[in-house]
């Protein structure tokens, strides 16, 4: 695909990036989405809102997160300098708190005191439960029963924080099913409920709003790399489930044509449909590369020939989802960003490598970006730098990896 020369990536007023995005929802949700869009737009242009958010991100969440020069990983790769953006050091252990905090401030402005959210790996659930505890808000987290099994520690954390965790037993009992159930709750309790969606997907304004709250990752990283190396990096690499950590890192660099933006999807355990979560998967039987509508937005969606949404597989619950955020679909089609995938096995290899070489245990989601980053660094001269988004920490995954190693 031709590299694009776009310098910005902004949706139209109805949330469309080209043909992607928009709003495909039951009629009942149009009014609350309009209300949310209005309030977000107002907040977006309100310096006082951003001042308070910034203060809370600094004072409570530990921002700015460091940009760490991974010297042993760099030596291992034998090429470009590898920098790690340490979102794992954020309060609650992942980038998810950036968005949860921003939306909690919005819900407060809107006077909604009942907060619902979906979660896959549990990181967004924990972040949401955390901000709800801090603001004294009621919190209900929908989570697939399979994900609750895989991420038992996070379920316990959410309950400790006072949230109700509602098990979802429909479908494959993962993130997609949790979003379905959260949407059903919202459509029913629309008058007093705020839906705190955790990724850069869903109906307008969520993809735009979540991106705006995650842009802090890229803004900081840009300043930090310039101050550390005096120049822009050659590439940014981040894992992509719905795509919030990656779009947050990428977006402030979109106008920097020399910077490659590389998203890493979950390649799972095989290339056939149902065995991975790579929406841009290039092979024929993978089901990749098809445009569809899921959860209120038009994007690339893994599905069968008749438009039924496919089940997906990834070793990491946070990437185990059939659709990708609409802005990624746009950046993919115009060639500004590149998307590759890493298998379960490569993710595990990256997990171990990062732990052993840098003393950092990354989340299995973030681990997907490690091996591709080593590969890309290897092709570049030592005078160049690349940034890997370490979007979360891996404590939650230690148990799962331990069990795999025993087997």
């Amino acid at each position: 695909m031709q590299r694009s020369t776009i310098t910005t990536s902004e949706p139209d007023e109805n949330g469309h990036w080209g043909q992607f995005g928009g709003r495909y929802v039951p009629e009942t949700l149009v009014a609350p989405l309009d209300e949310l869009t209005k309030e977000f737009t107002r907040a977006r242009h309100d310096a006082e809102f951003w001042r308070e958010l910034d203060q809370r991100l600094r004072g409570y969440c530990g921002r700015p997160t460091p940009l760490f020069h991974g010297q042993r990983l760099t030596a291992h790769a034998g090429g470009a300098q590898i920098y790690l953006k340490r979102e794992d050091l954020s309060h609650t252990g992942s980038h998810k708190i950036n968005n949860a905090m921003g939306q909690a401030l919005l819900s407060r402005r809107m006077g909604k005191r009942r907060i619902i959210a979906e979660t896959g790996a549990g990181q967004h659930g924990v972040a949401t439960a955390t901000v709800c505890a801090m603001f004294g808000l009621q919190c209900i987290i929908y989570m697939g029963a399979e994900d609750m099994r895989r991420q038992a520690l996070n379920v316990f954390r959410m309950r400790l924080l006072g949230a109700e965790v509602a098990a979802v037993n429909a479908g494959a009992r993962t993130l997609k099913d949790a979003i379905n159930e959260a949407l059903r709750d919202w459509v029913t309790n629309v008058h007093d409920t705020y839906y705190l969606l955790g990724s850069a997907l869903g109906p307008h304004p969520y993809p735009l709003m979540v991106r705006e709250f995650q842009r802090v990752i890229g803004r900081e990283a840009r300043e930090q790399i310039l101050s550390a190396t005096g120049r822009l990096p050659r590439a940014l690499i981040a894992c992509v489930g719905g795509g919030s950590n990656s779009i947050g890192l990428f977006h402030p660099f979109i106008g920097d044509q020399s910077v490659r933006l590389i998203g890493v999807e979950a390649g799972g355990r095989a290339d056939s449909l149902g065995e991975h979560a790579a929406r841009f998967h290039p092979t024929a039987a993978s089901g990749g590369g098809r445009i569809g509508v899921l959860h209120g937005t038009m994007s690339y969606v893994l599905q069968n020939d008749t438009g039924q949404i496919a089940t997906t597989h990834s070793i990491s619950a946070g990437l185990d989802y059939a659709a990708i955020g609409p802005e990624h679909a746009f950046l993919h089609d115009n060639g500004r960003a590149e998307y590759i995938c890493a298998s379960d096995a490569e993710a595990l290899e990256g997990f171990t490598l990062c732990a052993e070489l840098e003393g950092i245990i990354p989340a299995l989601e973030s681990s997907h970006a490690i091996i591709p980053a080593v590969r890309i660094a290897r092709e570049l001269p030592q005078s160049d730098a690349i940034i890997v988004n370490l979007s979360g920490r891996g404590d939650k995954d230690a148990q799962l990896v331990a069990e795999l190693n025993i087997r």
Partner: protein, 276 residues
Amino acid sequence: MSRIRDTFAGLKRTGRGGFIPFITAGDPDLATSELLLIELAAAGADIIELGVPFSDPVADGEVIQRASERALRNGVTLRDALACVAHAKQQIDVPVVLFSYFNPLLQFGRDRLANEAKQAGVDAVLVTDLIPEEAQAWTETLQQRELDPIFLVAPTTSDERLVRIGQQARGFIYAVSRAGVTGARDEMTHDAETLVRRVRMVSDLPVAVGFGVSTAEHLREVWRFADAAVVGSAIVREIERLKTAPDLVQRVGKFARSLLATNQQNVGDSTALHLP
């Protein structure tokens, strides 16, 4: 004038409220769905909604979710649903509304859907998650093939949007009785009546009320202020309960008649009007 408008005109002439049952195509299997269409027409349905099963029915409660799952386990597709209508339409004349989520239609293709739905004898298409703002191209294509695009309105819909929806909709307007997913309820809320009154201010289209309409009493209540009542989950729940019974079709028909029993005129007239 569309056949759906004819139907509502007929209802108005005779002063009756319309009865619009909903079933999911392929629940419990396609052959039964076909027989159910015929039986529901005989039982007094003025219009029938046929649901296309979808893997992620976010607007539906548990009963219709499970119906979708049963149909999908049978491998039922949009194409099958259309074939089901085509077969049933050889024996019945009641207008059929194809009721679907957007993605299966999107994959089928806009022109292909319009052509094949028309050919199958479908009269209208309602897409649960396609709001007028995103629907323009689809609305135009459907209308070119004389298929009515039906839109939903909800108690949360603003007056401004009611006007826009009224302009794009044809056939009738489907008023969602309350905020929430589909599913039977013990009581109807007052939201529905208020909503229908608001729709009447901005549109001359007939209004059908659905979501939670599940008893004969509810139907009577809805007919007081709206042109028709949609009964979905209550019927689908019967299908689920009877799914292994050899006389499922007759008993679902009996259940439908029991909903109309308080209004004998309804059953008689409807049968006379629509059965060939």
